[in-house]
Symmetry: C2
Subunit: 216 residues, 2 copies
Amino acid sequence: MPPARGDHEARRREVSEAVWQVLAARGFGGLTLRAVAAQMGATTGLLTHYFPGKRALLQHALDVLDRRSAERPRPAAEQAGQAAGLVRLRAMLLDILPLDAASAASNRIWVGSWDVALTDPELAEEHAARYRRARERMTGYVADAQRLGELPSGPAAEEIAAAAQSFVLGLVVQALFAPGEFPPERQVALLDAHLAKAATGADRGPGTPPVPAGES
Amino acid sequence: MPPARGDHEARRREVSEAVWQVLAARGFGGLTLRAVAAQMGATTGLLTHYFPGKRALLQHALDVLDRRSAERPRPAAEQAGQAAGLVRLRAMLLDILPLDAASAASNRIWVGSWDVALTDPELAEEHAARYRRARERMTGYVADAQRLGELPSGPAAEEIAAAAQSFVLGLVVQALFAPGEFPPERQVALLDAHLAKAATGADRGPGTPPVPAGES
């Protein structure tokens, strides 16, 4: 007899939580039906009810990662509110960095997913699309910042956004491997230095009064 | 009877080559004794002679990656020769980027190794040490560039180097996931834009005559 619907949903949440715990502790390389079953105190047989094979388990793990990422707190974006331009871009980038334990755990799983995603064309394209969407949002903020005179209008907004995204992804990796060398304050200082460099040549810096017409 | 020494060395090279092929095709998540044995057309039993367990196989894979990385061609560095400062820094960064198929394969395996390395404190520290050594070399080139007036002397050399390393690592990830969006020309253009921004505020740009004292 199949379980009642409420039980089923509760069990699915339990499975997702166990998948997350296994990913956090052992990475994608340690994600097996057996490990998830052990984490739940269940049998491997129960798990095959949810995942017919390894690929289904991986796909579920990436879905869990996606959902958790969408739901995670974004304190900098919240603080930025409806601010436009450079403030908004900075907030988005800050919320990516592993500045606290929860964000480090989530980033650690993201970085771990790259190995699996790069071996499977379909998963690779899904990841590429995720980064493309994030880059498009950043490009919008960059274009706003250019209109506001906070960033120089010479380089294409896409290139400033691609550079910022590359910088932040690489900083995530460095901070995960060497948290002692890249404490939160240094991560923020490096990001601010990157943005300050990006802003050189702009009509005006953030927070400084606009340059009168004809003087820029 | 153990194999003769020459046979043993030849077999070790064969094992290393098979490990590399498995990593390139399936990533660290697909690295198993069985997969390496199949790649060699050998039995799993033979492999256990070399690797008592999964961790020994992983450690060997990271050693192979290290050795291959040390041996890989560095065309930009060769071209830069004994040049100092910004030219040398740029060459080192260019040689990291996945600008051709061989470099993309090697980078793909590096990125794949992060999942495994982040779950094992010892492997994580080894990786952190590798990135630290690369960063120290970059810091030396940055300091030279500062002395030459190619980079501004305000920011600490360590911070300019950490930013450049972060930028390049993140660009590697983006280019691996979206090679169509990040062809070699765009990677190089993004790197050059990053270095040009880093150079703003310097006494002089690379190749431009020094600014006479008092005018900078």
